[in-house]
């Protein structure tokens, strides 16, 4: 099977969908001739033409609003918002329109729009190129929210998102576009070539939305995480020599609670980790839902590791980022709690 990095895997997913389904169109800022600022849409306009891979004005509200209209008229748009930090001008179109169109029209109108957007920090992007706003979207009823952590899932989930008849906000953790990242910025960057999930089929396949996946089996505790933090948590547990079970949530909405609950019921200890700010973050929802289901099996309070509750600061990137040390301190406290 060929090796792909996450950018190539996402590009392949778009290519597969554009080829299979004439109703699929791609739109966004710089996505056409240029191929996207992260190259995810590279060569697609050359291969599918300017009427299917569409360069847009800088107007996120316009991009999503127009995508909704296109979807209502039978197309299956994949909109790119260049950075998740720039999605807010489209917030009303997503929250008040995209999420509710099926509900308010009693399913007479639907909008199968996929919104792809790079998220997360670790690239020295400062507060306008580093945010992780997934909780704001997960909070809204009517949109699915996913975030892959490796190339194989990225391609399979993106195809599933595009083929899904409900709208999907698809977050791409940009720090791991080119390789897994364990949270140590001083180590040389590594690619996806040696990672098992860097093997990606060329053709069509899907990874189901709504299914979490086991990253590593263990008995001492359950670490529930997603995106870049999957790799940080894996390295943190490995270096500590802790036999932790690690689950990649992958899909925030719908949430595969059964898989999470089964694991936590078994280990009795749960750590939740994400890059986004802690207060009101998606970890709070995970923590509450798991506590409701696993209260009698828990041997310690559920722990959360997250970004601090400040905007993402440029100069303090690695003091802000929830790296291995923060994960390990929380994991140690979790294991020591009696």
């Amino acid at each position: 099977m060929p090796k792909m990095n996450m950018v190539q895997a996402l590009n392949s997913a778009l290519d597969v969908c554009l080829a299979r389904d004439p109703s699929v169109v791609v739109l966004g800022e710089d996505v056409g001739y240029f191929g996207g600022v992260f190259r995810v849409t590279d060569s697609l306009q050359k291969n599918y033409g300017t009427h299917r891979v569409i360069d847009t004005p800088i107007a996120e509200g316009g991009i999503v609003g127009a995508a909704i209209g296109m979807a209502v008229n039978g197309l299956r748009p994949v909109a790119e918002i260049q950075f998740a930090d720039y999605i807010y001008p489209a917030f009303d179109q997503i929250v008040s329109q995209l999420a509710r169109l099926r509900y308010r029209s009693a399913a007479e109108f639907t909008a199968p729009v996929t919104i792809r957007t790079p998220c997360g920090g670790g690239i020295r992007g400062g507060q306008t190129h580093s945010q992780s706003p997934e909780a704001m979207f997960a909070h809204v009823s009517g949109i699915k929210v996913v975030m892959p952590s490796n190339p194989y899932d990225a391609k399979g989930l993106l195809i599933a998102a595009i083929e899904d008849d409900d709208p999907v906000v698809f977050f791409e953790p940009k720090r791991i576009y080119n390789g897994p990242f364990d949270g140590d910025p001083h180590k040389p960057a590594i690619g996806w070539a040696d990672h098992p999930q860097g093997e990606v089929p060329v053709g069509h396949y899907t990874v189901p939305i709504g299914k979490a996946t086991l990253v590593r089996a263990g008995t001492a505790a359950t670490i529930i995480t997603y995106g870049t933090m999957v790799h940080v948590c894996e390295a943190a547990a490995r270096e500590m020599g802790v036999d932790a079970e690690i689950i990649d949530v992958r899909s925030m909405v719908p949430l595969d609670l059964d898989t999470l609950v089964a694991s936590v019921s078994r280990t009795g200890r749960c750590l939740i980790a994400h890059e986004a700010t802690r207060f009101g973050g998606f970890g709070a929802e995970l923590s509450a839902s798991i506590q409701e289901a696993c209260f009698w099996d828990l041997q310690a309070p559920i722990a959360r590791v997250a970004g601090w509750d400040t905007p993402y600061p440029h100069a303090f990137e690695w003091e802000y980022f929830p790296g291995k040390k923060r994960v390990q301190m929380a994991l140690r406290a979790l294991l020591d709690a009696t």
């Binding site: 109703s23 240029f34 599918y48 507060q127 100069a315």
Partner: protein, 445 residues
């Protein structure tokens, strides 16, 4: 270059529909329609791509001196033509001609040249610094220096400015020191943003310069609101804001214009039409067949389309608009026709999407060179003086950089206190942030 629908929408060649239910039916219908009917989706043309000859025939020009200069209380409707023609002062022989000539003294002109040259040489040095890995990111204003410098000179220092991230000339003219700007770029112990902002996202309250936002167009309605406050308070100051032509697509731009019209806000609203928004040509922002300035009269404020590489035209237009605003006649939308001669930022490579030699063909030339030639024609400047000024500024930049480094870099002491990360989220730090600060200290001890 027109794209035929059959090449550009190869629907008839694709296999399978890959979707279900009503969408499958709709897709099929679409497929059938595509095979029989012409797609009428217009895709804006880009005049030249890499390897092709640059072509700026789409830029509508007026001869220098040809456009009338109406009184500052002219009705909005009367500015419709001004929003489509091009106000220019410096003619091909480098003389200042016509009613928009601001009649500036040679001393002021030399000051303008110095400021533009300072901006350019500072940009060049900081770009190299980024390439050496000393700073993480940089944005040059190469080719657009007049837009910032001449406007800043034409405004009063009490006027509040809301810049975009390509207006460093305003900071330098208003007296923010090179060292101060460099310390921000380095995120060091003297960084005005305390390490919280990406390089170039400066601010300076004491120089009446608002904080730059990485999210686009947000400053436009804010500038209008500032101007409304000045009007409410009966103050003389006006607000000025800058936005790229690409960002005019954002709703914030349109909302700003509506508010400016409704309340006759004393604002000077500048569109810097540098033709490119990263890789996206100005046609994709709506620039085909119609000027950006025309949106002013379209909504109900005055509009001016000017040569943004003509220092005198920028100065004259800004003076006119500021005087109009101060006198209570409302806002003006000024489109500065210019060219982004360099990359969007240090993260961009424009040779991927436009001809490498584009700027050599740009019909409005280089703003620094044009003012220099004008001063030489006046007998107020020589090549020797220019070389001496260049050397003096380069020495000033080198000395400032040396000083900035003494205040630290991202990797070398003295460094910012990491506890600053938790300050200024709120006026008073709430308990949860105090706890997180302690947690970080424990993490790093």
């Amino acid at each position: 270059m027109q794209h035929g629908p059959n090449e550009e929408y190869p629907i008839h060649r694709s296999a399978g529909t890959g979707c279900r239910s009503t969408h499958a039916i709709r897709a099929l219908r679409l497929k059938l329609r595509a095979m029989t009917a012409q797609s009428r989706l217009h895709v804006p043309d880009v005049p030249a791509r890499p390897g092709e000859t640059p072509d700026f025939s789409y830029v509508r020009l007026s001869p220098a001196g040809a456009v009338a200069r109406p009184p500052i209380d002219v009705g909005v409707r009367e500015t419709s033509e001004l929003a489509e023609t091009l106000v220019r002062v410096i003619d091909p022989e480098h003389r200042a001609v016509g009613p928009w000539n601001p009649q500036l003294s040679p001393q002021v002109l030399r000051g303008g040249l110095r400021q533009m040259l300072l901006t350019r040489l500072f940009d060049d040095r900081m770009q190299r610094t980024q390439r050496q890995g000393r700073i993480t990111f940089y944005v040059r204003s190469y080719g657009e220096e007049a837009v910032s410098v001449a406007a800043a000179m034409a405004l009063s220092d009490q006027d509040m400015v809301f810049p975009s991230y390509r207006n460093q000339g305003i900071f330098l003219y208003r007296g923010v020191s090179l060292t101060e700007l460099m310390c921000q770029l380095l995120s060091n112990s003297r960084d005005m943003c305390k390490g919280r902002q990406l390089p170039v996202m400066y601010h300076s309250a004491r120089h009446n310069i608002f904080s730059i936002s990485g999210n686009l167009a947000t400053q436009f309605p804010q500038a209008v609101g500032w101007a409304m406050a000045a009007a409410i308070k009966g103050e003389d100051a006006v607000a000025a804001a800058w936005i790229g032509e690409g960002s005019t697509a954002e709703a914030d731009f349109h909302q700003a214009l509506v508010f400016a019209k409704v309340y006759r806000a004393p604002a000077v609203l500048n569109i810097v039409n540098n033709q490119w928004a990263i890789s996206t040509f100005q046609g994709f922002a709506g620039g085909e067949q119609r000027s950006f300035a025309a949106r002013g009269p379209g909504i109900g404020i005055a509009g001016l389309r000017i040569d943004g590489n003509d220092f005198l035209a920028v100065h004259a237009a800004t003076s006119w608009a500021a005087a109009r605003a101060r006198a209570g006649h409302g806002a003006t939308l000024i489109e500065h026709v210019t060219y982004r001669a360099g990359a969007h930022s240090t993260s961009d490579d424009p040779t991927r999407y436009r001809p490498r030699e584009d700027f050599d063909f740009w019909p409005l030339g280089d703003p620094v060179e044009r003012l220099k030639q004008h001063l030489m024609v006046l007998g107020e400047w020589t090549e020797e003086q220019h070389a001496a000024l260049t050397a003096e500024i380069e020495a000033q930049i080198a000395a400032s950089w040396k000083e900035a480094l003494t205040h630290g870099t991202m990797s070398d002491a003295p460094k910012l206190d990491r506890g600053l990360m938790f300050e200024d989220v709120f006026k008073v730090m709430p308990q949860h942030l105090r706890r997180q600060r302690e947690q970080l200290d424990a993490e790093l001890s």
